[in-house]
């Protein structure tokens, strides 16, 4: 029973929020006043959520914008400083370094899961024994509590006693310092991020693969196309919109990484793994420069909005390919 409902509701979901309008509403102009009246009543359903969202989400956004124009410390003393916080950020080497570091981290923590995730989706799209169980196991990392998993990675990265250096020594590779070396700390944290979030890319692309038509493949097989050609010229163009959605979501999520860094490296050694979000945390809740931190939030927010709008645009694109 519930499976039936599930299947029935999925096609609508793939279209995203701007699903095809109900034909009835468009085709019968005579019923327009009735529809208009009803549409207004629907706001009653949205009202409670609007109030709550206004209080816990929109209020913080506006308040942060206001705070970013103030010098603010934790005792509540504050003075209006206009754009001084932003000007200070532009010359704050620690902030600029964190931006640059975030850029590299995001680039790696986006592209690697995309490549692995597309591969995984192609694999799990095939039929093979125990596929359901293996897929569940594969998806587990993205559900696991990041803090708990980060603790285990911390022990695995230990330079002397960690299991990873032991395993590397078995194949003749010299031990790594992992998170204890400024040069390897970012790639190491990327490794953890890749472990966590490759499954998300896999699930999004798998959703795209599920909607593929079979006729082009049959035609290509008759024409003697190789499997690489079939992937390159049929599968890839068709799943590309889904890959782009995964790309944007991964980009946003990599920008926001916090738990992993807080547990494994605390931004260190020195400031070698201090990304934008960790810099923000330190300014706000370790140094209590609340106004200054608010300016960081605003910059962060602008980046996120731009990426979210790109995501929405891409969702529309996937609708057309259906």
């Amino acid at each position: 029973m519930s499976v039936e409902h599930n299947a029935g509701s999925l096609p609508g979901r793939r279209g995203g929020m701007a699903a095809p309008a109900t034909p009835g509403a468009r085709q019968a102009p005579a019923s327009t006043p009735y529809v208009y009246d009803v549409t207004r009543k629907y706001w009653l359903f949205i009202a409670p959520a609007t109030i709550v969202v206004g209080l816990v989400i929109v209020f913080p956004w506006i308040f942060t914008l206001w705070m970013s124009a103030h010098e603010w410390n934790v005792t509540g003393d504050h003075a209006f400083v206009a754009l001084a916080n932003y000007k200070k950020l532009l010359t704050d080497q620690r902030f600029l370094d964190s931006m640059w570091r975030t850029f590299w981290f995001t680039l790696l923590a986006t592209l690697i899961p995309i490549v692995l995730g597309v591969w995984a989706a192609l694999v799990f799209h095939r039929e093979f024994p125990f596929r359901g169980i293996l897929r569940t196991v594969f998806v587990m990392p993205m559900m696991a509590t990041p803090v708990a998993i980060a603790l285990v990675w911390t022990m695995m990265f230990h330079p002397q006693l960690g299991v990873l250096n032991y395993l590397l020594s078995l194949v003749g590779i010299a031990p790594f310092a992992w998170v204890y070396d400024p040069n390897t700390v970012i790639p190491t944290l990327v490794l953890v991020e890749v472990w966590h979030w490759t499954p998300l890319v896999m699930l999004i692309v798998l959703g795209g693969l599920a909607g593929l038509p079979t006729d082009p493949y049959e035609a290509a097989l008759i024409d003697g196309a190789s499997s690489w050609q079939m992937f390159r010229y049929i599968t890839w163009p068709l799943i590309l919109p889904y890959v782009m959605i995964a790309l944007v979501i991964r980009t946003i999520d990599s920008l926001k990484v916090f738990d992993t860094i807080a547990v494994i490296s605390q931004g260190g050694p020195g400031t070698a793994s201090e990304t934008l979000n960790y810099f923000l945390y330190l300014q706000a809740f370790q140094f209590y420069n609340l106004g200054y931190a608010s300016a960081v939030v605003v910059i962060f927010f602008v980046i996120i909005i731009a990426l979210s709008l790109l995501l929405l645009y891409l969702r529309q694109r996937t609708k057309w390919t259906d």
Binding site: G12, T39, V58, T64, G76, M142, L206, L280, A284
Partner: protein
């Protein structure tokens, strides 16, 4: 061409080669997940001597539950577990209460702008909400209380639930409701008796995803949680700072923190995969 003849020859052998490639791919893809979880289990079942032995001891021999006993004796883990249940449970329930009708309203009114707001809310870093909420809770004296955490976790649960519900309500045929309306049903009745039952799988998916991402949240409790009100993830983080070297108890605690989520994932994987493959949702 050479490639063509090779391809012709490959057709006969294809099944075997394909199966080997597929098997290897699955092995390579699944093993990192399996190894990390098994290593966590292994660390939690070994004595401290075995845990810091080099070369590492892989299989606990004999396995010991001493680490788990220590976690329960030395830490108030049951209290933190209860806090997590209250915070996540409260935020999910309240999120459903306001989020499900909102998803219905947005889907039916085709309120695209409201949906964009929800998407941006879901994308914004959780940390960015914390500064104003922290100040607000300070003013009204809520810092360190469970209520502050429940309210803040709404930032996670509401966007997920609304986003999932929009999709599911869009999948409920409007014609059914129109028919009921013609027969004299009120808008509330058509929501309550037609749309809501049909969108029940969506409620399950939304509740599960909201539960997982709220349970996993760490930063809210670090900043807003008090000594007696912190949730499991931040409690285990605190253990790390105090017990740097006690690997066994740490691994045991880590496993206990993430176990509820892993169990939910195992039992509800169908719903989770349906929800995520189309919505691409994740925590703040």
């Amino acid at each position: 061409m050479a490639s063509q003849s090779m391809h012709g020859a490959a057709i006969g052998r294809k099944p075997v080669r394909t199966w080997i490639a597929l098997g290897l791919s699955v092995l390579l893809l699944v093993s990192p997940a399996v190894l990390v979880f098994l290593w966590m289990l292994s660390l939690s079942l070994k004595t401290e001597i075995d845990n810091i032995a080099f070369p590492p001891v892989f299989i606990p021999d004999p396995p010991t539950l001493a680490n788990y006993v220590e976690v329960f004796e030395k830490n108030r883990i049951l209290l933190y577990f209860w806090n997590s249940v209250l915070v996540t449970g409260g935020a999910v329930l309240f999120g459903l209460l306001v989020g499900v009708p909102a998803g219905y309203g947005i889907a039916r009114a085709k309120a695209g702008k409201a949906a964009v707001l929800i998407l941006i809310a879901r994308m914004t870093p959780a940390l960015s909400y914390l500064i104003p909420l922290f100040l607000l809770f300070q003013v009204i004296g809520l810092v360190g209380t469970i209520w502050a955490l429940i309210i803040t976790h709404l930032v996670i649960t509401i966007p997920i639930i609304v986003w999932v519900m929009i999709g599911y309500f869009e999948g409920v045929p409007k014609e059914l409701e129109d028919a009921a309306r013609v027969d004299g049903a009120s808008i509330w009745q058509s929501f309550r008796y037609i749309a809501l039952p049909l969108a029940r799988p969506g409620i399950v998916v939304g509740a599960i995803l909201a539960f997982i991402f709220s349970w996993n949240n760490f930063i809210f409790s670090v900043v807003l949680g008090g000594k007696n009100t912190r949730t499991l993830p931040s409690a285990v983080y605190n253990m790390l700072t105090f017990e740097q070297l006690a690997w066994g108890p740490l691994a045991a605690a880590a496993l206990l923190v993430t176990l509820p989520v892993l169990l939910v994932t195992a039992f509800a994987q169908r719903e989770i995969i349906a929800g995520l493959s189309s919505g691409g949702l994740k925590d703040g």
